[in-house]
Amino acid sequence: MTMPRSIIDKIWDQHVVADLGDGRVLLHIDRHMLHEVTSPQAYAGLAAAGRRLRRPDLTFATADHIVSTENGRTDDTVPGGPEMIRALRANAEATGVALFDLGDVRQGIVHVIAPELGIALPGATLVCGDSHTSTVGALGAMAWGIGTSEVEHVMATQTAILRRPPTMRITVSGTRPAGVSAKDMVLKLIATIGTAGATGYGVEYAGPAIRALSMEERMTVCNMSVELGARFGLIAPDEVTFAYLQGRPFAPAGALWEQAVVAWRALASDPGARFDAEIELDVSSLTPQVSWGTSPQDCIGVGETVPDPEREADPKRRQAMRRALDYIGLEPGTPIRDLPVDMVFIGSCTNSRIEDLRAAAAVLKGRRVAAGLRALVVPGSGQVRRQAEAEGLDRVFTAAGFEWREPGCSMCAGMNADRVPPGKRCVATSNRNFEGRQGPGARTHLASPATAAAAAVAGRIVDVRSLEGSA
């Protein structure tokens, strides 16, 4: 009798190259994604030590953080950007790494293109110098963000040094009410267990409400794993996963596909597999979520009011809440609904895929953005943009008064030209509402694409379900 194993156990065991003792192993990395902000220093370190890139064939690069999302953009559009973009290009060329450069339809946010191109695969280990690498766990990959020194380590060895993380299963049950999205589900989860609720864990999301999600919705959930403190979060592959992947450019084809699917089916956690922690969440009565503070855990239902720090028992939490309210400019007891907003941003590795754009466009069809409000929609990749244009979504957005942009991290990273001015309030579909995240002094309210679109129309935060004729 073999011990029942979790999907995390199975992927881990498959990838151990060497045991370093002391609980650490060298784990093989199947896919390495590079971008312009966290790879130049790694390349410089590699060159300084006279080392070679071990597996250029398993390494892929794109520029996303610093790039301009303006139509007609060039390397030079964003101050500070050209040096980083050109370094990425030169490094990729010198080491034989596939680069999805500006002007290539495959360029886009690294976590959007990795699944879209079939680079990320079930059962694979995938790393990138970016914390939201957890996104592609949606395909059943073990995927996590690393720092630049680790990027250099993976470049030189195609392995990472890891200690086996404790495992957590988050079981989500119930049926989501209509008008409530995967984003609302994950925001509620973070509000429930906190931003350190899964610190250091490898998480498997399971349960009927997870299985019912589309592939893209699963990416939204896994994207925010890092906002729970988790090292990675993944979902066992199933027919939904296989249907999504088949035919993608870097996915296996023909006999290799058939062989891979057999292996992928065997990845699911065995009945009786043990996890170090178990969490359950029921989404039957979930409502659209909006953040009120400066941490992703500061979320409430759109019908609720801003909480009062004075009613918080923990003094540290109380202090953090006061600071958050001061920064965000809100009083306790204020209904979050009807709060006026200056900007709306639909994009980011959390919510810039075609389904996100469809959900926002469904709300916007036949409507106009409120007077004086600036609204941006930034597709996650060139392919998302092209698909949206084929479906006429771009015309829905532009007719409503949204700016239709080129792909990139845009206002989520805030390190390109797209920023929220100081003191302005923005409803964003991104993943972080930290102080200064969207620009110094920017006030960010996290929400789903549908909620963001509704806010753009109303000029204030509204319950998208109250808009006549929207889904």
Binding site: Q14, V17, A18, D22, L26, H28, V37, T38, P40, A44, A49, R51, D57, L58, G81, E83, M84, A87, L121, G123, A124, G129, D130, S131, W144, G145, I146, G147, T148, S149, E150, E152, H153, A156, T157, Q158, T159, T195, A196, T199, G200, G229, R231, F250, P252, L256, W257, A260, A263, S295, K316, A320, M415, P422, R432, F434, E435, G436, R437, P440
Partner: protein, 208 residues
């Protein structure tokens, strides 16, 4: 490659705030570089400086003697958020050699390790004592002894901490981690040969 670190004796600056994220440690305006050096200028820049670039006198690292701090006393979940290693580079460039906190976010913790920035975990009570000492006598020094795994407060009170053996060894010896891993080249080659047979779709990719 990190320099060896054993004893760190210096002024400890209190910043006992929970969930300090890497965007706060080094705001994105300072990430527009392909170099690792000089990033101390951007450390906590939105907290250290006002919109006109003047120091905010109420921020701890703008106050004497804390602007000379080698040790940062931090709150739980320090370093959460973005994976940017620039956060560690900026702390070190500013002169911080050790961060003591009740807990660290995992990517940041790894980044500390790779650069020889000591990340020491102490419980809330011990941190509260160190913060109280730092506030009472700001110029007094705290000592972090990595080898003995012990923090000595300015008043002489000692707090033992636990650190994984590999982390301690790396700090003490300043290891070349990549060089050490490359010594497993035979195991890597063996893995790849075996894995190519078991999971050919991982290794035989269509070209771009």
């Amino acid at each position: 490659m990190p320099e060896p670190v054993n004893r760190i004796t210096g002024i400890a600056a209190p910043l006992p705030r929970a969930n300090v994220d890497t965007d706060a440690i080094i705001p994105k305006a300072h990430l527009l570089t392909i170099h690792r050096s000089g990033l101390g200028a951007g450390l906590f820049s939105e907290w250290r400086f006002d919109d006109d670039g003047r120091e905010r006198p109420d921020f701890v690292l703008n106050q004497a003697p804390w602007r000379e701090a080698k040790i940062l006393l931090a709150g739980e979940n320090f370093g959460c958020g973005s994976s940017r290693e620039h956060a560690v580079w900026s702390l070190m460039d500013f002169g911080i050699r050790c961060v003591i906190a009740p807990s660290f976010a995992s990517i940041f913790h790894e980044n500390c390790q790779k650069n020889g920035l000591a990340a020491v975990t102490l419980d809330e009570a011990a941190l509260a004592h160190l913060v109280a000492c730092a506030q009472a006598t700001p110029a007094a020094t705290t000592t972090v002894d990595i080898k003995a795994s012990r923090v000595t407060a300015p008043d002489g009170r000692e707090f033992p901490f636990t650190m994984e053996a590999a982390r301690r060894q790396a700090l003490l010896e300043g290891l070349d981690e990549i060089g050490a891993s490359l010594r497993h080249d035979a195991a890597m080659a063996a893995f790849e040969a075996r894995d190519r047979a078991q999971r050919p779709w991982i290794h035989a990719l269509p070209t771009a």
